[in-house]
Subunit: 319 residues, 2 copies
């Protein structure tokens, strides 16, 4: 059954969680209305501030995300959380049952929380997450927190899609070195040493400061990534974290970096969709019944294989 | 410098080896005249009988090929040999220096011999070999012998491109089992036990007969692959091999199988060219300067990523 997209978008903007969920499902899947939805969202986008939260398992990402939600809600902002799991093929709200720390926001109409799996997606993260962000943006959320589950390349990808990337660490266990290996130390706009009440927090911050070369001279106007200490479970340092994020946002606005990053995100999104479309056409070649007719014309000597390939490709792409 | 294609094709049809070589080079490479050459060849193709010779190293493929050249020359046919090496990136005549047994044909104007490497080719065998066959066909060779260097999948591919696939074995060393493993036992139209004067030739023929199920009942009109014994180095059994090949050709003609195989070869060729073209376009996406402009329109809210991807793909494919 066809959905009334305009009505659905209107409800999402009123903060109806079911309407938001429905829209994300529509952009996630291969819905026949996908293009209609995307077109309806386009003029409504560009207002949400997208923050990526990355870091190794155990650093307290979801606790920190929850604490940020609380802080932004206090400031009167509507907040959406997108928990992206690149290792899972299962999407949706059901997975959130175990996200205990998020449950305090469950009944808050100003908060929307969604798990998103990207394993099943053609094009993976590059394709799926930005489209969900687009829905949340169009639905009028002021802040979208994108939290990654898992480590490695996916975190770097998510960070590349955020306006601001927050990299979380925790004391002990050579966490800094692990983060450096995963390549996430290069992508942070803001660094967080969570669980800062634990032994080794000073050492972690020092190590981080050293690895980032934060002591080195920079060009005036350059962004100097701050290191914020938090104890997210008790809400300590969270206001300072919000302040650091907002400072980064203001700096990006001032220096044209925000528009640049968003243009890069949009370009990546276009590219992922286009590559997927071309790949599908390659798959379609094999089953194309025009192939037989073209082969017959080659046998008759009235066509050469290059001209035939041109016709085949034109037939697949000229829609 | 642009080549006069019509003149070159004319010379190739007169049997001038340099003209043939030049044409193959033009279809092998990314020459700007590639399409012009292919178009010029199209109406001249369809007369050559293409025989694929496959088998494990040591069975005497090039000796057998050379003996077949001699036999077909005696019958007044113009013969071309295409030695395809999928493991090498080097093409051309220079590699033939070590093909000692072929040297007897070097001064014969009715014989053309060419090595062809396919490792460097986009699309590999599926792309490169059929285009060279097309040149040799258009140049008026009556028989094109396609001999593979190396084993495995490439042999199956080459056989699929031939009108008739001859699978060579030699006595000893569990050759039959090796061939079965490589999957080439299923593709033979004619089987050859070469070095038939050696011990074990009877056992090899028996084993082959058993593995092929040649004793089993078949539908009337079905092709029953013969097993021919040869001692190619002394020319023994080669007339019988030619007879077996010609019988297969006549059977194919009678049953419409020849046209069917050639249509399949043409379809594979079209497909390989089309896939290569689409892959190149995927690569082009990344460097496309329209991407930035499209991203800006998304930021402005006047375009959605799907519509942008459509524009990008249309720009790349609508030429």
């Amino acid at each position: 059954m066809a959905v009334d997209v305009a009505q659905l978008v209107g409800r999402a903007r009123e903060g109806k969680p079911r309407a938001v969920a429905r829209l994300i499902t529509l952009v996630e899947g291969a819905s026949p209305q996908l293009r209609e939805v995307m077109a309806a969202l386009a003029p409504l986008c560009g207002n949400a501030y997208v923050v990526g939260l990355t870091g190794s398992p155990g650093v307290g990402k979801s606790t920190s995300t929850s604490a940020l939600v609380t802080a932004y809600r206090k400031a009167g902002k509507r907040v959406a959380v997108l928990a992206v799991d690149p290792s899972s093929p299962f999407s949706g709200g059901a997975l959130l049952g175990d996200r205990v720390r998020m449950s305090e926001h469950a009944s808050d109409p100003g908060v929307y929380i969604r798990s998103m799996a990207t394993r099943g997606h053609l094009g993976g993260l590059a394709w799926a997450a930005p489209q969900a962000i687009r829905v949340l943006d169009a639905a009028g959320f002021d802040v979208v927190l994108v939290e990654t589950v898992g480590v490695g390349q996916s975190e770097v990808e998510i960070a590349a899609q955020a306006d601001t990337a927050a990299v979380l660490l925790a004391p002990g266990m050579g966490d800094g070195i692990q983060a450096a290996k995963a390549g996430i130390l290069e992508i942070g706009d803001v660094y967080v040493v969570n669980k800062a009440d634990r032994e080794g927090a000073d050492a972690t911050a020092r190590e981080l400061n050293h690895m980032l070369g934060l002591g080195e001279a920079r060009q005036p106007g350059d962004w100097r990534p701050p290191i914020v200490r938090t104890v997210a479970a008790r809400g300590e340092g969270v206001d300072e974290l919000v302040e650091a994020l907002e400072k980064h946002r203001a700096w990006m606005d001032e220096h044209g970096v925000l528009a640049e990053r968003r243009a890069r995100r949009a370009a990546g999104e276009i590219e992922a969709i286009a590559v997927t479309a071309l790949r599908e056409r390659i798959g379609d070649l094999r089953g194309d019944r025009r192939l037989g007719a073209l082969a017959e014309r080659i046998l008759a000597g009235t066509l050469d294989p290059y001209a035939a390939a041109d016709e085949l490709v034109a037939g697949l792409t000229g829609d």
